[in-house]
Assembly symmetry: C2
Homo-oligomer: 516 residues x 2
């Protein structure tokens, strides 16, 4: 057994059985070890941003880490943007990054780069394996580190000689640590606050947005009259008919400030207080009114479920929430293909327990609003703002949940960042329907250009935010990667194509030619 | 005048007039400043790896830096792999990276990341601008830093408030530093060595591979009988008919060792001694025979031209080289579309002074060999081994040299890394012909798998290196991004399509269905 084989065995024993991969020469022993393993499923991706975005989507749905397999400093560099999003999503994720053999690094061969420095930047925990025997030990530690709190990014760097040298044994899996309980005092303080008569909002984030925790929060709201809010970019929100409704904090700071203005106290559960996404001249970054008290019930890494249940008990909340989302009357829109029309179609046709990956940017916000009363589903968003997450995320979610339909709402500009994800969807025959929102523009930047006070834009300035010239055809690109694709020019066409997609289990893309 | 406008003015005054860009909200003042400037040409790219790869290609041909415009930590993360290649190519390059406003960073908004740490990893020089006035000062320093030696990567980080705050004036351009002369002693030592009767190779790299320096090296070879070698992955080699021939050091270590075995001394000019690209079990990393003396005439950052001319003088070399490449008899191949057949077509049809960007991987090596006696042209290679360089590099080269045909030899697997480059080629109507070498495999990895001794691969292992299932159509993908495309299934079809491409000035892709 060589070091690579020992590492593989330990990862599998630790519960890791999916590996999103883009390997190179220095990882060939790891590739071979995966090839020999019955238990590890390799998923080849054509770019490392797809690898890590998929691992993020997988972890959001599976609540356990996938492994990634990355090639040297360039591989982890390419992986970094979606690792940023994964970090903000607080998911568990284990990177296995190859490096040159220890004795080879001194020669400064062309691909030599500082892999540990890159790993430190994008990982909560990272470590260079010190020997063939240490490789599987590092693997066990990485899985344990990834499962700390809500989840974290752990990276093992594998010098090639440690992968091919002989290892004595595979290290045993390490015990998963328990979630830390929220402080009794925090729960008592919040319980008192909920009784003080002040107008209260409870801002939910992280795992507080799972169905059972929303139910607990709904009971607390019923007892206290508090308003339930949801963080702006949740990793995974369980929403739709039969679930406790939450109001999502808007994207633009002015709207956030307006939303928060009436409240005298804000209770945080698995979330931080809202801040402006970007800074703008003369506008505040901090959005909670100064007069508003802020209390934290539980941090994102603490045991949110126990804290919510204890709080509900303490304030004698009813056994069930009093307000649940009612299913809307499905409609079939017609006319121009506006984001709202797309939202109406989705609201009518999304199948129960489907998963929506939303990197719809400007369009996504309208579609989100229009699907509030759809059947129960999970909504995944761009947690860290690094675009190019949506397609990989939907791929990973589909791998984690092969029996659930996945719908990827994908803006055109950000979709182009990791368009290679389509090929892996075709290869793995994942059940993903991509709604490619083609408005031929970085539309959000046209809005932001005005908001940052950058003056009246001229044609040259606007051309830098424009995605026409030439117009792209995502239908052609999808077909080029083996994904069936159609184009919808109006609401009727879209509705019909989306209806067909919802009853066909395969990867497929609908290019929605959006009218604003 | 705000800070962004001052920076723009200083960059233009410093000779920087092309900016490859993928901006976001925090860079809107910079976008607006570019929009207002008549002198700066913005080139929108759909991914940051395209931005920096294009800036590398531009610099290799223009011998001066382009600017890049990148969005926050995620932008520079995505830019990093091609910055690694640019670093290895020793080109000048100036990154302008937006960051959150200084006062906003404390709030840990979703996109907040450690931009300076990322910049340090991929730059020889980096600095956070400290005020609106300091912004243009930083810009001037960055251009100066980028022009040090052969060229370096310089990065200015721009907190958004410094871009929008008022600036008093635009800092003046700084004087470019002169190339450092090689030590007199080094020249004398090498002159002596060339007279000692030992079998000698001169290994040329960096700017030693430009035509005028090759001519000087050819004179030295004529006088001394030394063999001229070229580094394995040159940034820019001027080759073909009428130029001094050099033998390129092979990729595989065994072949390198065999090539070097006869030599008793090795003279380095702008290159390091060859080392193995990767480590392999039981194979050496260092490839120069122990008995071979190594002397350095000039480092890659020194004045190679003056050193070569001084050496030629010192050894009384003839006024001109005695050996020049003779144009071959053009042929028109037929039958299966092998890499050699593609090479024959290129050798026959490459137009004078065209530029070849070679990320052809396994196929590229054969094509290189077959084009040795083509008409004079420039050959650019994957300097740092981080795949996904070829298409962006050809884009940037075409921007630098609008009157020269650019041919991109692009392997399928690495082409998918930065396939978005096609769109910018169409948008800018660059005269690039892409020869997409489709062998439906990471072919090099199939070779390396055996070389690293990873055992007999099974079907599962091989599937991780396979790019069929589904087969990709680069014709469809190219058309989806506005680039005209055709497919060639045999040598005759390829020859005819390539001939047409050489007489049509526009971006176009030929998908070459390669038989091995």
């Amino acid at each position: 057994m060589n070091g690579a084989e020992a590492l593989l065995r330990t990862l599998v024993d630790s519960g890791v059985d999916v590996c999103f991969a883009n390997p190179g020469t220095s990882e060939m022993q790891l590739v071979s070890a995966i090839g020999q393993s019955d238990a590890m499923r390799p998923i080849l991706c054509l770019f490392e941003g797809v690898v890590t975005g998929a691992a993020d989507g997988y972890a959001r749905m599976a609540d356990k880490p996938a492994a990634t397999l990355l090639h040297l400093g360039s591989g982890i560099s390419n992986a970094m943007a979606n690792l940023h999003n994964a970090k903000r999503a607080r998911v568990p994720l284990v990177n296995i990054v190859g490096d040159h053999a220890t004795y080879h690094q001194q020669y400064d061969a062309p691909l030599t780069a500082d892999v540990p420095a890159r790993a430190r930047i994008c990982s909560a925990w990272s470590r260079v394996a010190e020997s063939a025997d240490d490789l599987s030990v590092s693997g066990a530690q990485a899985v344990q580190a990834a499962m700390q709190g809500a989840g974290a990014i752990a990276t093992v760097i594998v010098p090639a000689n440690h992968a091919w040298d002989e290892a004595k044994e595979a290290a045993p899996a390490l015990a998963a640590s328990q979630l830390q309980l929220a402080a009794e005092e925090a729960i008592a303080t919040v319980a008192d606050a909920l009784g003080n008569g002040k107008r209260t909002a409870i801002l939910l984030g992280g795992r507080a947005l799972r169905e059972h925790n929303l139910a607990a929060a709904g009971r607390i709201a019923a007892a206290s009259g508090a308003t339930l809010l949801c963080e702006t970019f949740p990793a995974r929100l369980q929403r739709g008919a039969g679930r406790v409704p939450v109001q999502r904090v808007p994207y633009f700071g002015e709207q956030v400030a307006e939303l928060l203005q009436p409240f005298e106290q804000l209770i945080l559960v698995g979330s931080a207080a809202p801040v402006s996404f970007f800074a703008y001249p003369g506008k505040p970054s901090w959005l909670t009114p100064e007069s508003c008290d802020i209390h934290t019930l539980a941090s994102v890494d603490e045991d949110i479920n126990t804290a919510l249940l204890a709080l509900a008990d303490k304030i004698d909340a009813p056994a069930t929430p009093t307000t649940l989302v009612q299913r809307n009357q499905p409609t079939s829109p017609s006319g121009p293909l506006t984001p709202m029309a797309i939202g109406e179609t989705l609201s009518a046709l999304l199948p129960q327990h489907c998963i929506v990956s939303d990197e719809g940017a400007t369009c996504g916000l309208s579609i989100y609003a229009a699907t509030e009363r759809a059947t129960a589903h999970d909504w995944l968003t761009l947690t860290g703002g690094a675009i190019g997450q949506g397609l990989p995320l939907s791929l990973g979610a589909a791998i984690a949940c092969p029996n659930r339909k996945v719908v990827a709402l994908q803006a055109d500009g950000s979709g182009m960042y990791t368009i290679q994800a389509l090929w892996t969807m075709a290869r793995e025959q994942t059940d993903v329907t991509i709604v490619l929102l083609n408005n031929r523009s970085y539309a959000i930047l046209n809005i932001e250009l005005a908001r940052v006070g950058a003056g009246e834009p001229n044609a040259k300035t606007l051309s830098m935010l424009d995605l026409s010239n030439p117009d792209m055809s995502f239908v052609d690109m999808a077909r080029g990667m083996g994904v069936a694709a159609t184009r919808a020019e109006n609401a009727e066409e879209f509705h019909q194509q989306f209806a067909t997609a919802m009853t066909t289990k395969r990867p497929q893309l609908i290019e929605a030619m959006v009218s604003q």
